[in-house]
Each structure stands twice: as C-alpha cells, then as structure tokens.
C-alpha cells in the first residue's frame, strides 16, 4: 500500500509540474483571439506554501474498554475526551487554479494531529473507607498524516487587494506515524498518603492501533491580500472526519497498553486548522513587467 501511495503521489506531482510548466506565452498566442484574451484575464494558476496550527477532537462512536466490571456500572469506564485543546502544526504547498471567482485548490500537507482522553478508576474498602485508591490515566495520541485536500473556493470580493473567500472540499490523509503517551496519577490513601502521586510517563509507538486512511469533508473561510506580485493567504478550516480511524482488528491484540485496560473506541477525528501562506502567480500579462493576472 505504501509503495502504491508513493507512486501515485509522484504521478500527482509530475502531473502538476507538467501543468505549471506550460509557459504563459502559449496562452498569449491563443489570446490573439479576442475571446481567448478575455478568458486569459479571468484565469490564473497560483503556487505557494502555507503552514499553521491545528486542534483536534476525537468523536467516539462505539465505545470499548479492556475492563469489564463485575460489581459496578460499566458506564464509569467511558473515556472522557478532550476538546479542541492540544495545538499541533501543519505545513504544505498550495496549488490553485482560479477562474472567474472560483478556485480549485489542491493543498497537500504534512500535519500532526493530537487528541486525548482520560479514564478514572477507584477501588474502595467497604469496611475501611481509608483504604481507597484512585487512579487517573491521561492518554494522549499524536498522529502524523500526509493529507491530500481538494477544495473549491469562491472569492466574495473579486477586484480588491483584500479578497475574502469561502471554501469547501474533501480530504484524504494517510497515516505516517502514531504515538501514544500515558500519564498515570492518583491518590493512594491506603498507603497512608493523602496527596496525589504521579507515575512515570509511558510512551509507545501506536501505528498498529490506527488504520492508514482518514477521509472527510472540510469547509472554512479566509482571505487573500495581494501586494507586489505575491498573494498572502489566511484561512480557518474545519475538518470533519467521516471514517473510524481506529484499527478495529488490532484494538486489543496490538495495544501495548491493553494491560492497563485500555482499548481504543471507534473514533472520527474533527479538526480546526489555521493557515498562513504565500502564493505566487504562474501567469503574467507581460513577461517584461511581470504583471500577474488577478
């Protein structure tokens, strides 16, 4: 599967490269026809890079646990998921084709997404309330993806330097690396301690706990700001995952933390990201003064 993705990625970029290699003077030739000139003025290719930050929230569907309680409510074992809290980053390139206010944008990027949850357990002695142990397991997951989003943008204002836009699209991402961290803390009154304690943090590779693919839809808004011959772009985008990223077949068998009762729920990832980028026009009105088509 990895090899297949590599080949396709290569083809994708070669395809893009061929597209951008087409010099503007060829269009100039075509622009001899009046209608072609009009069309030329309404069309542009943009190429640039962008980077930013993102926050992720895991949305559980079906819940699982490695523990099966014999004398208390199983609902106590439900994980408490963090919201959009941990901040991660992403960076990539943007290739955008603009035509009459609409843009079709391909924005491959490498991104890290983090989500977390916690479990709490308590064991008590019914005859001696001092014999109590409370434990809290905080679990953080760091997932590194190569993401291939495809977006359609619409420029709300078309003739200004400041051009707000809205965008919607779809994405496909493939997992490159995954890591899981667990921090165990608690209060052990039975040992005579009333204060909290913290155990050593456990960090494990978690590639096998997740499937490679993540897909979803995305939407957001942003703005361009044009100056000199470049364009600054800022956008805020919400991604809604449409598939369960947990590897259901490895939920118990490949989880090195199953020993503490951990089992991944079926989860979709939702994500908010903010990007700042710089785009360069690929087509110019004149090769001498390099006035880009806008």
């Amino acid at each position: 599967m990895k090899k297949r993705i590599s080949i396709l990625s290569f083809l994708l970029f070669v395809g893009c490269g061929i597209s951008f290699a087409q010099p503007a003077y060829l269009n100039k030739k075509r622009s001899k026809k009046p209608t072609e000139a009009d069309r030329f003025m309404q069309t542009q290719w943009w190429l640039g890079f962008k980077a930013g930050v993102n926050m992720t929230e895991a949305s559980p569907d079906q819940r699982f646990s490695g523990l099966s309680p014999t004398n208390y409510d199983p609902g106590i074992l439900d994980k408490e998921y963090d919201g959009f809290e941990a901040i991660s980053g992403q960076a990539g390139i943007e290739i955008t084709f603009y035509h009459k206010g609409f843009s079709f944008s391909f924005q491959p990027n490498y991104r890290r997404q983090q989500f977390g949850y916690s479990n709490s357990y308590e064991w008590t002695n019914t005859e001696d309330a001092d014999n109590t142990l409370s434990l809290n397991y905080d679990q953080a997951h760091k997932l590194d993806y190569i993401e291939l989003p495809l977006l359609v943008k619409y420029d709300i204002l078309k003739q200004n330097k400041f051009r707000p836009f809205v965008q919607v699209g779809v994405f496909y991402a493939t997992l490159m690396n995954a890591q899981k961290e667990v921090e165990i803390s608690g209060i052990d009154q039975a040992s005579g301690s009333a204060g909290p304690f913290e155990n050593q943090q456990l960090i494990i590779g978690a590639d096998d706990l997740f499937i490679k693919s993540s897909t979803g839809v995305m939407g957001g808004l942003g703005f361009y700001y044009d100056f000199w011959s470049v364009r600054l772009v800022f956008d805020a985008t919400y991604r809604m995952g449409l598939n369960n990223i947990t590897n259901t077949q490895n939920r118990f068998s490949e989880n090195q933390l199953s020993g503490i009762g951990d089992a991944m729920d079926d989860v979709n990832l939702n994500n908010i990201s903010f990007n700042l980028g710089c785009l360069f026009p690929m087509r110019f009105i004149s090769s001498k003064i390099h006035n880009p088509v806008r």
């Binding site: 599967m1 297949r4 993705i5 396709l8 990625s9 083809l11 994708l12 395809g15 893009c16 061929i18 597209s19 951008f20 087409q22 290719w45 490695g66 523990l67 099966s68 309680p69 014999t70 004398n71 208390y72 290739i95 084709f97 035509h99 079709f104 391909f106 357990y121 308590e122 064991w123 008590t124 002695n125 014999n131 109590t132 142990l133 434990l135 291939l148 495809l150 496909y172 493939t174 039975a190 456990l202 499937i211 490679k212 693919s213 897909t215 598939n243 369960n244 947990t246 259901t248 077949q249 939920r251 118990f252 068998s253 090195q256 933390l257 199953s258 020993g259 503490i260 009762g261 089992a263």
Partner: protein, 399 residues
C-alpha cells in the same frame, strides 16, 4: 482546465487505491478481545482456575477467592458472553472450597470438583451453560487435586491424608466410583505431606497435579508417590512405571501423550524449567525426570506452572504450551507434532504493563483460543483476565 482534471483524476485514484483499509476496517467482536474482570472492592482477590466455552458461544470461568471464614479458598463461577463481557458471578456456599483444575465437558454438561471445607471430602459439581449448579455429589474421597475426562467418565486425582495415599479413581458423571480406587503411598513422615497441605492452604507453592489416560493404554498421574512428586503409570491395580522427581523440588509440571509412546512434557528442577515437546517415556520403567532429554527455558519464572494441550490450527494438530515469563507476561509456545523431532513453530506473548499469569486455555469453536489468567490491576489487585485469540492470530503463532 486539463491540468485541473489531471489533479482531480489522480486525487480520486489515490483515494480509491489507498483507502481500502477503511472498508476493510471491520472486526468481528467475538473473534479477538482482551478483558480484565474488575471488582472495585479494595480487598477483593480472585484466582482463576480454568475456562470452558459453552454451547451459546459464551464462557464459564472457574475461579477461587479468599474466604475470611476458612483457610481454604471459596468457589466462584464467572459467566461471560461471547464478547467476553461479564454477565454474572456466582459465589458458591462457603462449605465448598478449593476448586481444582479442570472444568470437564461431557455431553453438554460441565463438571468440576471442589472440597467440603469441614469434611474435606471431594464434591463433584454439574453445571449448565448458565453456570447454574445442577447437582452436587460427594465422592467419598478427600483432598481433590485434579479432574479429567476418561471417555464418557471422569478421572479424579485426590489425596487421602489418613492413609497418606495419592488416590486415582474413575467415576461416572453421576459420581459413582467405577472399579477400584488405586492408592499410591506417598511415604511416611510429616515432611512428605507438608507440600501437599501447603498446596491446599495456598500457603506454599501450587503443585502441578494432573492425571489422564494414554489412549488404549494405562492411566497416568502426576502426584506424590514414594516420597517424590512423580509421574506414575498404572493400570489402577499396580504401578507400571514411574518418572521420579526430586521430592517437591523437581518433577513434571505438565505432560500429555501426543503419539505412540511419546509425551509432550514440561518439567522443573530446583527452579529451572525444561520443555520436551516429544519425549519417549516408557510406561513400564522407573527413571528420573532429569533423564528426560528436553530444552531449558530460563525465560520462565522459577518452577513455572505450565498449561499444555494439543490444539488444532489450520487443520493441523499442534502442541501448545502456556506459561509465565520472568518479565510478567504469559507466553504461548506452539510445537509441531512430528515424531521425536518436534520443533518450535512460534511464540506469542500476552499481557503488558502489569504482571500476567496463565491459569488455563481452551480452544474455541471458531478455531481461536481463549486464555484465562490473572493480572494485578494497577499493580495491586488480583483480577481474572481473558485473552481471546482469533483463528488468524493462532495461525500466525504456528506459521
């Protein structure tokens, strides 16, 4: 515009080819799972004994727990559904204590043996799919140690502390003794008996008592005989052959006949462990367990308990050993059955973070394996756990 088309086509192709794992990401919950059966009582502690799968796909775990009213441990029956989720737990009346390995299935009835805490008499229990006790039958023998199937009957191993004999007897499913009870003198002196009593009180090491019958041949048992823990071959009238141990410091920890004259065995000797997946044992001679040609396994805990059985994987019979490693994991080792040259086909480790110990395993109807054991939740609380391996996972073990 043609360039945009290329991007869309390539994107679509990439997504279609690479996202097969999304459609394949479905697991049958009954095939593979891991569960710890947690009780939130600080002072609760459970000792798993054996597991069996019931006809509805669920499981019954025979287990034991400390009693405040007795030196012995009580009898717990835990019922699980086909996904391994806890359904119910039955703590039998405190007059019944010390359940012994194993749960035996005969014609959709499940049998296990425990002891009367006052009379020390062995009691046979018949339970149904719901782990409900159907009948209890006193057996007229004391200190039960092991229960096995013998065709349509049951084979019991027990100890008579009045006559200082190890007793091997065949009983019907209704609890009637068939033929004579074979008695084997353990030897005079309190020192000889001490390890047996410690075993029953759980104040000492749990000794590897077991018994069975070679198909069409003599019976065998691993118990005390002539001052040592020995593997004894008998026709129930007389002793035929013996594999002698070293009092309770050496001997067999598990053994089953695998082919004509050959046994799969595990033995211990002053803490060290050895595995012989195919050793030739004469049923009519007396030898020492240290004469057995086998392989040392320093990976296992001192005097490791070993669970041993023949299971079917991919249509082929394999010898499966289960034991405990020094690193606190359960280890499964699969050997092929191939005359005197059985080779190790694969190993699998179960459990992590906290210590795990094996109690038993059983092959499931879907071709997988259910392993029951003990773990210390939070490093403190002894709880029963269960690993269910799918047929695929089992297949990976032997390939």
């Amino acid at each position: 515009m043609i360039n945009s088309r290329y991007i869309i086509i390539l994107f679509t192709l990439a997504v279609c080819l690479a996202s097969c794992d999304i459609t394949d990401n479905e697991a049958v919950p009954t095939e593979s799972f891991f569960k710890i059966y947690d009780n939130n009582a600080f002072d609760a502690s459970f000792i798993p004994i054996d597991i069996t799968q019931t006809s509805d796909g669920g499981y019954i775990v025979l287990s034991s727990s400390r009693l405040t009213t007795s030196n012995f441990t009580g009898v717990n029956l835990v019922r699980l559904d086909e996904n391994g989720e806890f359904i119910s737990e039955t703590l039998l009346d405190e007059q019944y204590v010390n359940p012994v390995d194993q749960i035996v299935e005969l014609e959709n009835n499940y049998y296990f043996m425990a002891m009367n805490s006052i009379s020390l008499e062995a009691v046979l229990f018949n339970i149904n799919d719901s782990a409900a006790v159907q009948s209890t039958t006193p057996l007229g023998i004391t200190y039960p140690m092991y229960l096995n199937a013998d065709g349509g009957n049951l084979l019991t191993l027990s100890y008579n502390n009045s006559s200082k004999n190890t007793i091997l007897s065949v009983i019907s499913p209704e609890g009637q003794t068939i033929g004579t009870r074979a008695a084997f003198d353990i030897g005079a002196g309190a020192d000889t008996e001490a390890p047996i009593i410690s075993h029953f009180n759980r104040t000492g090491r749990q000794l590897p008592f077991f018994a069975g019958r070679i198909e069409g041949g003599p019976y065998y048992f691993n118990g005390f005989f002539n001052y040592t823990l020995s593997l004894v071959f008998t026709n129930l009238d007389e002793t035929l052959g013996v594999v002698q141990g070293q009092q309770d410091d050496g001997g067999l920890s598990a053994g089953i006949p695998v082919s004509s004259g050959n046994f799969a065995v595990a033995r211990f000797n002053f803490g060290d462990n050895f595995i012989g997946p195919s050793v030739s044992l004469s049923t009519t001679e007396t030898i020492s367990s240290t004469d057995i040609l086998d392989n040392p396994f320093p990976e296992l805990v001192d005097n490791a308990p070993v669970i041993l059985d023949v299971i079917e994987v991919n249509g082929t019979q394999s010898i499966l050993y289960g034991s405990n490693t020094k690193s606190g994991q359960i280890i499964l080792m699969a050997y092929e059955i191939a005359g005197s040259e059985s080779t190790l086909m694969g190993t699998k480790y179960l459990g992590s973070t906290y210590p795990y110990e094996i109690a038993g395993f059983t092959q499931t109807v879907d071709g997988g394996l259910a392993v029951v054991g003990n773990t210390s939740v939070a490093g403190r609380f002894d709880r029963i756990c269960m690993f269910k391996l799918s047929a695929n996972e089992l297949s990976e073990l032997v390939n």
